[in-house]
Every structure is written in C-alpha cells, then in structure tokens.
C-alpha cells in the first residue's frame, strides 16, 4: 500500500522523538508522540489507519519502552477506535478544540495503560496529567507538520 510508505516513516519519527534524550525536567511533560501520530492518521485516513495500526505500533512501543508486551497495544488500539468514532466530528473542530480533544484522548490512553498495568502488576506509575498537557500543547504544530508531509508526498 502506497499510503503506508508515508505513514510508517512518520511513525519512525515519532518513535525517535519518544526515545531521544532530553533534559530531565522536560521528560515530565514529554508529549506522547506515537499516540498523537496515530490520532492524526486515523483522523485523516480512517480507511487506511485504524485499530490494527494502533495495535502494531503499540506493540513496537512496548518493545521500545521495555514494558509488558501488549500494554501499549491495548491502550493505543482503544484510542484508535475512539478516534474512528469521533473522526468526522473532529475534523470540523478548530485547532483549539482539537487540542482539547487530544488532551482528553491522550489522557484516556494513559489511563487505560495505567489500569492495565496496575491490574497486572499491582503497581504502576500514574503520570497522566502532564504528558497529556504536553501533547495538547504540541498538537497544532505536530498536526500541521504531518499534514504538510502528507500533502507533500500525496499518498
């Protein structure tokens, strides 16, 4: 599929941003790049990107972060599903409204991950708020960058 030739490199970029070293203080609000990229592609190409893309990328994120296999796969596929349900409405929103929805979506993604992790292991790190804030803040920029990439390569 030609579309994946554009989608997968943007995910590579997202994985890179998710693992690159930054000052310790910035780590606390590090945006969830992979979740945002997934949200973008499901938003603009729901017929190509969907639950299974979320599942696959979640699996790779699990390997990257060394968490139990399937944890991010579960939470990212749920997020992809939610975006599919919302996508026709989300497109009409202005950037500010979109940012708010992204805040809620990323927050939900982190919450599902937190629930699953604490059910499995009895303990989990509950950093829910700040990564969602970071994602919402960077969303307009990331959205436009990905939109530019998408239109430049005309998938």
């Amino acid at each position: 599929m030609r579309a994946y030739a554009v989608i997968l490199p943007t995910f590579f970029l997202a994985f890179l941003l998710a693992s690159i070293q930054m000052p310790r203080l910035l780590d606390y609000i590090r945006p969830e790049w992979v979740a945002m990229t997934l949200a973008f592609w499901v938003l603009v190409r729901p017929e190509v990107a969907g639950v299974f893309l979320g599942f696959t990328m979640g699996l790779l994120l699990d390997v990257l972060h060394g968490s139990v296999l399937g944890l991010n796969a579960l939470s990212l596929s749920i997020m992809a599903f939610l975006v599919i349900l919302l996508h026709s409405r989300l497109r009409l929103y202005n950037p500010l409204q979109q940012s708010f929805i992204v805040f809620v979506l990323v927050g939900l993604y982190l919450l599902v991950r937190y629930w699953a992790e604490s059910l499995l292991f009895g303990q989990a790190k509950a950093a829910l708020l700040w990564p969602s804030v970071g994602s919402a803040l960077i969303w307009p920029l990331w959205y436009n960058l990905l939109l530019f990439i998408r239109q430049y390569f005309r998938d």
Binding site: S19, D27, E47, L64, F81, K125
Partner: protein, 305 residues
C-alpha cells in the same frame, strides 16, 4: 471561513469513506476492536507468565533497534566533537596522566598475581572453591530511558554478543546494575538506583551483610533492615556479597554517607552513595561471571560453600 478552507481538501477526500463507513466499515471496526482487545490481553498475560515470550520480544527488537541507534546519534556526535576538538597540550597532558596511571596499575597487578596465588593456596587449605577471574566485555551506553520515574539505560550490546538477562554491569568505579531485557543488538539495564532494584552487599571493613535498595535518586542507595547495634560507620565501603547468585562477589557498590538512629524506628537509617558514576559513565563493562549465569549449580554445590 478560514477553518472551512483549511479543511476543504479533507472534506472532499473523505466524502467516500464516510458514506462507506455507515454501511460497512462500522461493523468491521467493532470486530477489529474486539480482536485487538483479545489479542493484546492474551499477549500481556502470556508475557507475564511464559518465559518463551522473550523470543517474540527480541524478534520485534529487530524493528526497534534502528530507532535506538538513531536516537543515540546526537549524544555520540557530542562525544565525537568533544574528542576531536581537544588541543594538543591537553592530549599530551592526558597521555602523561594515563601513562602514570598505567604504571601504577601495572605495579599493582604484579602484586596481584602473587597475592591471588597465595589466596588460592589458602582457600585450598580451607577446602573452599577456587576464585576465578571474571571475563568482561566493553559496551557503550547509547540511550537513557526517557521515563523520569525509572532508571534504565540502553547499551549497544545484545543477544548477538552473548548478553543475557541478569548479567551484571560495571563501570570503572563499581557496580552499575543488571541487564533486564535483551534485544538482538541492544540491551536494557536496570541501574542500582532504581527503586525496583535491590542488591545484597557486605561492609568491606567487617563483613556485616545488608541489602542496598535503590532510592529512585541516582546518588543514593538505602540499606534496609540494619539493626541499630550494627557496626556501620560513615565512609565504610560496601561490596557485593554474591548472595542471591546474581552479582559476582567483591565488586564495590557504594560508600556509606549517613547513619542515623531514630528511637521510633525498628532499624537504623543508613544511606550510601553508589560508587559507580550512574549518571556519567559512557563505557560500561559486561561481566561474564559463572555465578550470575548458573544459579542452579550454586544451589547444587550448596554444601561446599
């Protein structure tokens, strides 16, 4: 108006899928979601309870390794720039210093040989097993886990180089941690200072045993269950005791920085500073020791020890 313009292209392009979505893909989305749910929950349980899932992880690791390599590039560029832009004078200075250091170390090694032989003879007299040298391999740090609540590092040696889960990692000063996950070309190391980590130690001065757990801060370890009467002082060196058959015995772990007695607490409050430079070391040593690889053998030979 502006928003409508912005999304004009999207409207046109998406008209078809939306209509299709009403009739067909809505249903299949639900079933896809159910499949993904079952798959991922199954995976999580399998990964938690079945050892062979490590192979699945390391296969997926082939895909993720390029990300780890590229993410490490900025750091390596920095090191390269630093090392290639040094003046001749400072290089010469460093060279002299290293030559002196090597001379001193060589002298110590000369003594070591005879001391080791003597030690082994004495141990033979005591019927204890002979001490062997540990094999080591140098690895380079290529990444630090971005999660601020854990202390993991990524090194550039993996399954292909013989790294295994549980392998101890050292730097020039002391123990750093252990390997917790092996991918084909990289491995993840849990540092001593992580709050999920504990290591059995003993005080070098008098052999008192204790357990050093990570505090979550890179410069502090805490000794737990130390009785108030134990003879532990500030400045004591802690070395790994080899109990637990994971870390080899005798490597420096930390120095005691604080000993406090609180009448309200059942145990003394003892903290130590890790000997290894957990936040600085770029090159680390992988130890291939027999103790850390074969816990079964140790339990079989339990009588001898």
């Amino acid at each position: 108006m502006r928003i409508a313009q912005r999304h004009k292209i999207n409207f046109n392009k998406s008209k078809e899928p939306i209509i299709k979505g009403i009739f067909s893909s809505g249903q299949s989305n639900n079933s896809r979601m159910v499949m993904a749910l079952i798959l991922s929950i199954g995976l999580m349980l399998a990964d938690k309870y079945f050892e062979p899932m490590q192979h699945v992880r390391s296969t997926l690791g082939y895909l993720i390794t390029p990300v780890q390599w590229v993410a490490g590039v900025p750091g390596q560029l920095g090191v390269w720039a630093e090392s290639s832009a040094v003046s001749r004078a400072s290089l010469q200075e460093e060279n002299d210093r290293l030559r002196n250091e090597s001379l001193v170390l060589k002298q110590k090694v000369q003594q070591m040989v005879s001391l080791r032989a003597e030690n082994n003879r004495l141990r033979e007299l005591l019927n204890a097993s002979e001490l062997l040298d540990d094999k080591v391999q140098v690895a380079e740090l290529i990444g630090v886990d971005p999660d601020p609540y854990t202390h993991h590092i990524i090194i550039n040696k993996g399954e292909q180089h013989g790294v295994f889960v549980g392998q101890p990692i050292l730097d020039a000063q002391g123990l750093m941690g252990q390997v917790i996950e092996v991918l084909p070309y990289t491995a993840r190391v849990l540092l001593l200072a992580d709050s999920n980590h504990a290591i059995p130690v003993l005080v070098n001065r008098n052999g008192i045993r204790a357990i050093a757990v990570g505090s979550g801060r890179l410069d502090e370890l805490a000794l737990i269950y130390v009785p108030d009467t134990a003879d532990i002082q500030e400045g004591d060196l802690l070395v790994s005791s080899g109990l637990g058959s994971r870390y080899p015995r005798g490597y420096p772990v930390g120095t005691i920085t604080k000993v406090a007695h609180d009448p309200g607490e059942p145990f003394a409050i003892v903290s130590a500073k890790p000997q290894a430079q957990l936040d600085r070391s770029r090159y680390v040593l992988l130890v291939f020791s027999r103790e850390s690889k074969l816990p079964e053998v140790v339990t079989k030979e339990g009588g001898d020890l």
